[in-house]
């Protein structure tokens, strides 16, 4: 077992590729790395090198002081894929749907009816659909793209180090924290828009009685904990999947990683779904007045 995994599965040091020379790593046969597409470490089984796992996304190069990491590259790639699909899709939109539009409409209808069950009306569902659906598709596509061969196996030489060129976007805290922040800021923004500033703020800051004041403060604190739980849940799951796939591919490169890949496909979907559904439930709670809040209590409980 390589030393980086032996301690806690995470290499706390800066990314270092041990033993194997850069050339050897770079020219490793595709079959070997294709079996561990999600692994962004160099398994280097032939040369006896250790697994390279970095908790943080690694910087590939800088553009005007902006650090371009392998993770943000993946995020941009996901963005490009989704925008291309959107551009392609836009030209195909018609009142009488084709196959692709039919599939997409089916997905959208399913999402809308799910949103209806939480928000209570189709009008509200359609209003908040863009945010929820974008979160879902962005996380889903980034997770699934992270499973493709090449992610983790294509490498980049930077200052004598060999760094994976691509790293799943959600395996970077910057991505998940940004999404978490946007989700919670968006949720509160929708709350303000739906109820008015005073009504929404009174959920957190009320001085009617000491108990409500205390509960309000707890609610306020929970908004921050939601950001943390959002970001760490997604990051933890995707990063753990990465580590799992890397280790399995390191131990047995052929066939054995397949079930784990399927598991990661499922996890990728589930995490995207969970993220979107939690954001939806929080929106549902935020746009509901304080008096109606108790009706939404079970949903709130579920969210934690």
């Amino acid at each position: 077992m390589p030393h980086t995994i032996a301690h806690n599965g995470i290499d706390h040091s800066q990314p270092v590729v041990e033993h194997a020379s850069a050339a050897e790593e770079h020219t490793a046969p595709p079959a070997e790395h294709g079996a561990s597409p999600a692994g962004h470490g160099e398994t280097g089984t032939e040369h006896g090198s250790g697994i390279h796992i970095s908790l943080a996304a690694e910087k590939l190069f800088s553009i005007g002081g902006f650090p371009v990491t392998n993770s943000i590259l993946m995020s941009v790639l996901t963005f490009a894929v989704l925008v291309s699909l959107a551009g392609f899709f836009k030209r195909k939109i018609a009142t009488l749907p084709g196959k692709i539009q039919g599939i997409f409409e089916m997905m959208l209808e399913a999402l809308l009816s799910l949103m209806d069950s939480i928000l209570g009306s189709r009008e509200k569902s359609e209003k908040y659909l863009p945010v929820i659906a974008t979160i879902f598709f962005f996380v889903l596509v980034s997770n699934w793209l992270g499973l493709l061969p090449g992610v983790g196996s294509l490498v980049w030489h930077e200052g004598g180090k060999i760094i994976p060129l691509l790293r799943p976007a959600a395996a970077d805290m910057n991505f998940t924290l940004a999404l978490g922040l946007i989700a919670i800021i968006g949720v509160n923004f929708f709350g303000f828009m739906a109820l008015g500033f005073k009504a929404h703020a009174s959920k957190f800051f009320t001085f009617k009685n000491p108990i409500n004041t205390f509960v309000g403060l707890l609610e306020f604190m929970s908004e921050f904990s939601k950001i943390i739980s959002f970001s760490f849940r997604l990051f933890g799951n995707v990063f753990a999947g990465e580590v799992l796939l890397t280790i399995v591919a390191f131990l047995v490169p052929y066939v054995v990683p397949l079930p784990f890949l399927f598991l990661e496909i499922f996890v990728g979907f589930i995490q995207a779904f969970v993220f979107a559904m939690l954001a939806l439930v929080f929106v549902g709670i935020a746009i509901t007045g304080h008096d109606e809040d108790h009706a939404a209590e079970p949903a709130h409980g579920h969210s934690h």
Binding site: A56, K90, A133, L181
Partner: protein
């Protein structure tokens, strides 16, 4: 805390970049996918609802038209029957009046024929009386102009002659 941020690779520039990335994607997808698609779905729903409404309206109109046709047919039948009955009644009235008139005419003709016949009979009688009167005068005149003995004979003869003539 700072160490944790470094270990997790948290960097405000990257965080901002990821957020901006997401927000641009949100804008583009909303603009080019969700809104057009929701519009298409809404349009389609509206058209389907319109179709259903029109179908219902057509059914309703058809039923109304059928009812109207039935009502008109019934009305027409009733009118025809009424007309038939009134025509029959009128015909009967006409027949009766014609009959009455004919009878009246017949009676009048009969009466006039009787009157004519009576007048003819009276005329004939008057004529006979006038002729008899003339005959008698002539006979008397001849009797006065003859001998008394021969008068009787002559009167008788002339009377016989006259009788024979007539």
């Amino acid at each position: 805390m700072n160490e944790l941020f470094v270990k997790l690779g948290l960097d405000w520039k990257l965080l901002l970049a990821q957020a901006v990335n997401f927000l641009i994607l949100l804008y583009l997808l909303s603009r080019f996918v969700y809104r057009p698609l929701l519009k298409v779905l809404a349009d389609r729903r509206a058209r389907v609802e319109e179709g259903f409404a029109k179908a219902d309206e057509a059914d309703r109109r058809l039923a109304d038209t059928n009812d109207m046709v039935k009502a008109k047919m019934k009305q027409a039948e009733e009118e025809a029957m009424t007309m038939l009955r009134s025509t029959e009644a009128k015909a009967k009235e006409l027949e009766a009046s014609l009959m009455a008139e004919a009878q009246k005419k017949q009676a009048a003709m009969l009466e006039s024929a009787e009157r004519l016949a009576a007048a003819k009979a009276d005329e004939a009688a008057a004529k006979v009386r006038a002729e008899a009167k003339e005959l008698m005068r002539n006979a008397l005149a001849k009797a006065v102009s003859m001998k008394p003995e021969s008068i009787d004979e002559a009167l008788i003869e002339s009377a016989v002659k006259e009788m024979k003539v007539h």
